[in-house]
Structure formats: structure tokens, C-alpha cells
């Protein structure tokens, strides 16, 4: 969960004008690098170097025993791998389900709570943040029980209400398992967007809203034509982080279904883990990681195009 790289996309302006006014002092540069050194060292060793190695080894048949150059073979193999394609499909379904759900619900929740008293506001924010704070492991312990076909509360409620007479295998039936994952993913994803939208609503231009109301705009029109466009930067950010988080969805799947039944809840991230750390196919897993990064990159760029058209940086 990385709240906040979006703000960084605005150009770090001003520095070129600076150059013209006076030359950069050598001392200033040296001091800056001294202060950056620890950060750069950690970043270089634990991020840059692994990226380079990861991309490089994705062109190798790389296992415990072998390290043979195979060119694009891993990538070609990926697109003929039924399990990979299934996992990619599941991943995209999760993203396509989670992103709109998170945006709609968090806009709704924050619109409802933002004009309430600070106590009520922070109470609700706390409630929706709860699953984020408590962590996936704690969250899945209960959800596993809720979905349990025989001793779980969900089937009990449905059976008591007469909606079903057969216990439903929520996590074991391929018709339902991915939906169950999506539901839990939703509860763990909404906390941060609620906080962000509540803050964004507070920052909107009040005079514009009042002017629209005086002109006789309905509540819906005020929302649609004044508030919603004003929240666009937040929506862009929320869409991007929810996309990235859903793409990386791993622990929920590992703990709830282990990708089953028959890979019906496997995601690319889960498959990557399985291939790398259970089957020790390092090169193949790295190729999967590269494809995953490229897909996330493309989707993020598309989101900037769609939501970011009227966002100023």
C-alpha cells in the first residue's frame, strides 16, 4: 500500500529558471548527495539491482540446476500456458470488479460522512479502515469461517432464511470462489479511498457549490457538474492504487483458496509465487513478473488518459 505517488507526477518545476539565475553551487550538490546517500544505497541494492537482474534472467531457463539463455522462450511459453491465461483473466476480473466498486462506495461513504461532526467522521473512517490495519491474516481467519460450508455463518443465514437448502461451498465452488475473494478484497481496499475522498470534499471550492445551488441546480446536478469534476484528481489516484493493489492481490488468495479450485481463483501474482517458490522456475516466474509490470503500467497510463484529461499538474 503506497499512498501517494500521484502527486509526484506534477513536474518538479522551477529548477530550470533557477539554473539561469545562478550556477548550482558545488557545495550544495555535495551536501545533497551526502544526505541522499543512505536512501540511494538502499534503493540501488534492494530495488534497482533486483529489477535489472529480474529482467535479465527472464530470458533464461533458470532453475536450481540450469541457467541457459533461451531468448524470448519464457514469454512465448507464457502465452500458450492455459493456467497463466486463466490467472490473468482472474486478475483482470478482480481489478475490473474492485476498482468501480471501491470508487462508487468510497464516494458514497465520504459524501455521507463529510458534513457530520468530526467524531462521527473519524469513527466511520476508523470502521472502514479496520480491515486495512488489522492485516490480511487476521481478516482471513474470520472470512474463512464466514464462508465455511458447514459451520460458517453465511450459509447458516441463507439456510435459516430459506434461500438455499444445500450448503454452498463458497471457496470450493468455481462459480462462487472468485466472487468471495472479490468481496474480501473490497473490504480490505476501501479504507484509504474513504479517507482521501473525505479530504477531497473538504477541499472543494465552496463558492462554486453555493453558486450552483442558488442557480437552482439539483443535488444530483451539483454532484455531477461541480463536486465530481472537482474530485477527479482523487478519483484518478484511487483508481490507480486500487488497480495496483488488486493486481498484487496475493495473501487473500493464498490464505483463502490457495488459487483453487483448479486455478479458478489463481491470479498472476499467486501463480508467480507458486512457480518461483514451489516449482523453482525462476526464469519463468521473472518473465511473469515483467509481463505483470507491463500490464499494470499500460492500465495506469490508460487511467491517466481517461480520468486525467481535466486534471492539472
Amino acid at each position: 500500500m503506497d499512498p501517494g505517488y500521484r502527486g509526484a507526477l506534477k513536474p518538479t518545476g522551477g529548477s530550470s529558471a533557477w539554473h539561469k539565475r545562478r550556477p548550482l553551487e558545488l557545495r550544495e550538490t555535495l551536501v545533497s548527495y551526502a544526505f541522499l546517500l543512505p536512501a540511494l544505497a538502499f534503493f540501488g541494492v534492494f530495488v534497482v539491482y533486483p529489477i535489472l537482474v529480474g529482467v535479465f534472467t527472464s530470458f533464461f531457463d533458470y532453475t536450481m540446476r540450469k541457467f541457459d539463455f533461451v531468448g524470448l522462450d519464457n514469454y512465448i511459453r507464457l502465452f500458450g500456458d492455459k493456467i497463466f491465461l486463466k490467472s490473468m483473466k482472474n486478475t483482470i476480473l478482480l481489478v475490473a470488479g474492485a476498482v468501480p466498486m471501491v470508487v462508487i462506495f468510497s464516494v458514497f461513504i465520504s459524501s455521507t460522512i463529510y458534513q457530520k461532526s468530526p467524531l462521527v467522521r473519524s469513527l466511520f473512517r476508523g470502521v472502514f479502515y479496520l480491515p486495512v490495519v488489522t492485516g490480511t491474516v487476521s481478516v482471513t481467519v474470520v472470512w474463512k469461517w464466514i464462508f465455511d460450508p458447514f459451520s460458517g455463518v453465511l450459509n447458516w443465514v441463507l439456510q435459516s432464511a430459506g434461500l438455499t437448502d444445500q450448503p454452498i461451498m463458497w471457496l470450493g465452488d468455481r462459480r462462487y470462489a472468485l466472487w468471495a475473494i472479490l468481496a474480501v478484497l473490497f473490504t480490505t481496499s476501501i479504507g484509504q479511498p474513504v479517507v482521501l475522498y473525505t479530504a477531497a470534499l473538504g477541499n472543494l471550492d465552496k463558492s462554486q457549490i453555493e453558486a450552483a445551488e442558488i442557480d437552482g441546480a439539483s443535488d444530483w446536478q451539483v454532484f455531477r457538474y461541480v463536486k465530481w469534476p472537482g474530485m477527479m484528481p482523487t478519483t484518478l489516484y484511487v483508481a490507480v492504487i486500487t488497480t495496483i493493489n488488486s493486481f498484487q492481490c496475493f495473501s487473500l488468495i493464498q490464505l483463502l483458496t490457495s488459487g483453487g479450485p483448479n486455478y479458478n481463483t489463481s491470479t498472476v501474482m499467486y501463480l508467480l509465487y507458486e512457480r518461483a517458490f514451489k516449482l523453482m522456475q525462476f526464469g519463468y516466474a521473472n518473465a511473469m513478473g515483467v509481463v505483470l509490470a507491463v500490464v499494470i503500467g499500460i492500465i495506469s497510463i490508460l487511467q491517466f488518459r481517461v480520468f486525467g484529461s481535466n486534471v492539472e499538474y
Binding site: 502527486g7 490480511t136 496475493f250 505483470l292
Partner: protein
């Protein structure tokens, strides 16, 4: 439309929305309530239907069993890992974020762009090489294997930069004229002024490291080296349906961070919004 009609319609709509919100809150609170109370129920009662909504005869047996299962060591491991990562991340990010916000030097935009690009990259892509690297240093299956990669992640630098931008340049200028050394400026002017940012970063890092199940799963494997969430997850596989012990474990794993979160909630929400709103 007359203002009274608007007012009336708005209040009805608002009341309906609040009712819906309260119902939704139940979905979010119930699991949490269930985990806490479940930890105090006898094993048999946790899977009984209809559910026993409240532990009528509370028992500590689940907790006893948990601590027989080295939960104490796991708890210490989690605390140590999260605290160390928190200190290192703050120590590395504060000077870096400050210079990126306030100093002009060659390569500044490039370095910043690099950090930002890394934040957008899914961390798991670098996973296999990271594990190999850490193993080659002999760090596999040690807490350092979880802590050090967490320090390499540049989100903290970004957050501190956002907060540092609010420091007025005149103050830094004045300190320089007074002959204040760079390190002194950092410690006595910058640090106090970005305190809310450091607070937010500290809490973020603590909670994220505590809950970084993925890294812990991959890096740690011997029983005495597990962290608390990982230990509970392992038990989830071992005692498949012993919900009593599992719920006690889930409570224990969540409680410390919940306390941290509620005590510092103010810093936390400030950090979330600062991290995303353009600064």
C-alpha cells in the same frame, strides 16, 4: 426549487444514506468483533450453529495454547522487525526527502523521477532476484531479510518531500547566514518542522511492516523466526478448523497495530492525504 423543499428532501436522503452506512459498518465491524470474542470461546463453540454470539463461559485456553506454540517469540519478532524498519525508514527518508524538496542540485529531478517510478512498480516483480540476493548474503530466514528490503522502498522519501515543501525557504536561508551547519539545520530546523510527516511515516512503516505477510512468507521459514501474522497463518494450515486458537492468534496479531493506529489516527490520515494531494 424552494429551499425548504430542498432541505427536506436532502435530510430524508441523508437519513437513508446513514442507515445504509450503519448496515455496511456492521459488515466491517462484525468480523472484528467475532475474532476477539471467538478467541475466548471454547474450540467447540466457535463452530457451533446457530452461532453463540457472545462467549457465555469465557476461557483463556486458546491463548494458553497459542503461547505454548511460541506465539511469544513471534510477537517479539514482529515488534522488533516493525520497530527497526520504522527507525531505518525514517532515518533514511528524512534527509533524502528534505534535500529533494529544498535543495537545487544536479540530477535532482532524475533521482526524484526514479523514486516515483519505483513506487508505481509492483514490488513482487523484483521478488525472485531479491530473495536470491538476500540469500547470497546469508540473510535468508533472518529478520534482516524482511527489514532491509522494506527500507529500500522509496515511499517514505516521497512523503517527507511533500511535508518538507511547506518549510519556508527564508528560515533555511537565515540558518545558513547564521552559520548553522547542514547537519544542525537538518536536526534542529527541518526535523521539528516536518514532525507530523515523520509521525505519519513512522506509523505507516510500522503497520506495513507488521502486515507485510508476503515478504515474511518468502523470507522466513524456521518456526522460531516467524512473525506473529505469519505464525498465525502457519497455524491456519496446521489446525485447519481450530477457530478458537486461530481467532486468539488473529486478535493478538491485530491488537498492537490497532492500538498504534487509534492513538495516532490524526497523523495517519494526514499522512494519507498529504501523500496523494499535490504539494
Amino acid at each position: 426549487m424552494s429551499s425548504s423543499r430542498r432541505g427536506k428532501r436532502r435530510s430524508t436522503g441523508d437519513a437513508l444514506a446513514m442507515v445504509f452506512l450503519c448496515l455496511l459498518s456492521v459488515v466491517f465491524i462484525f468480523p472484528f468483533y467475532w475474532v476477539i470474542t471467538g478467541g475466548f470461546k471454547d474450540q467447540r463453540l466457535t463452530i457451533q450453529l446457530p452461532p453463540q454470539w457472545f462467549p457465555v463461559k469465557p476461557t483463556l485456553s486458546n491463548y494458553v495454547r497459542l503461547f505454548d506454540n511460541s506465539a511469544g517469540v513471534w510477537l517479539l519478532n514482529s515488534v522488533f522487525t516493525s520497530l527497526t524498519a520504522m527507525l531505518l525508514v525514517c532515518g533514511v527518508s528524512v534527509p533524502a526527502g528534505y534535500v529533494l524538496a529544498k535543495k537545487r542540485f544536479h540530477g535532482r529531478s532524475m533521482i526524484f523521477a526514479m523514486f516515483v517510478a519505483a513506487m508505481a512498480l509492483p514490488k513482487q516483480v523484483i521478488l525472485v532476484p531479491l530473495v536470491r540476493l538476500v540469500s547470497s548474503w546469508g540473510f535468508h530466514n533472518t529478520l534482516a531479510a524482511v527489514i532491509l528490503p522494506a527500507v529500500g522502498w522509496p515511499f517514505g522519501i516521497f512523503l517527507i518531500k511533500q511535508f518538507s515543501q511547506t518549510i519556508p525557504g527564508e528560515i533555511l536561508e537565515a540558518a545558513k547566514i547564521d552559520g548553522c551547519s547542514e547537519l544542525r539545520t537538518l536536526m534542529h530546523i527541518v526535523v521539528p518542522m516536518v514532525k507530523p510527516g515523520i509521525g505519519a511515516l513512522a506509523i505507516f512503516t510500522f503497520i506495513n511492516t507488521w502486515n507485510d505477510y508476503f515478504m515474511q512468507l518468502i523470507m522466513l521459514n524456521s518456526r522460531s523466526r516467524l512473525t506473529l501474522p505469519l505464525g498465525v497463518a502457519t497455524m491456519q494450515q496446521e489446525f485447519a478448523t481450530n477457530y478458537g486458537v486461530l481467532m486468539a492468534g488473529a486478535t493478538l496479531a491485530a491488537l498492537p497495530i490497532l492500538i498504534v493506529f487509534f492513538v495516532f489516527q490524526q497523523y495517519f490520515t494526514q499522512g494519507i492525504t498529504m501523500g496523494s494531494v499535490k504539494g
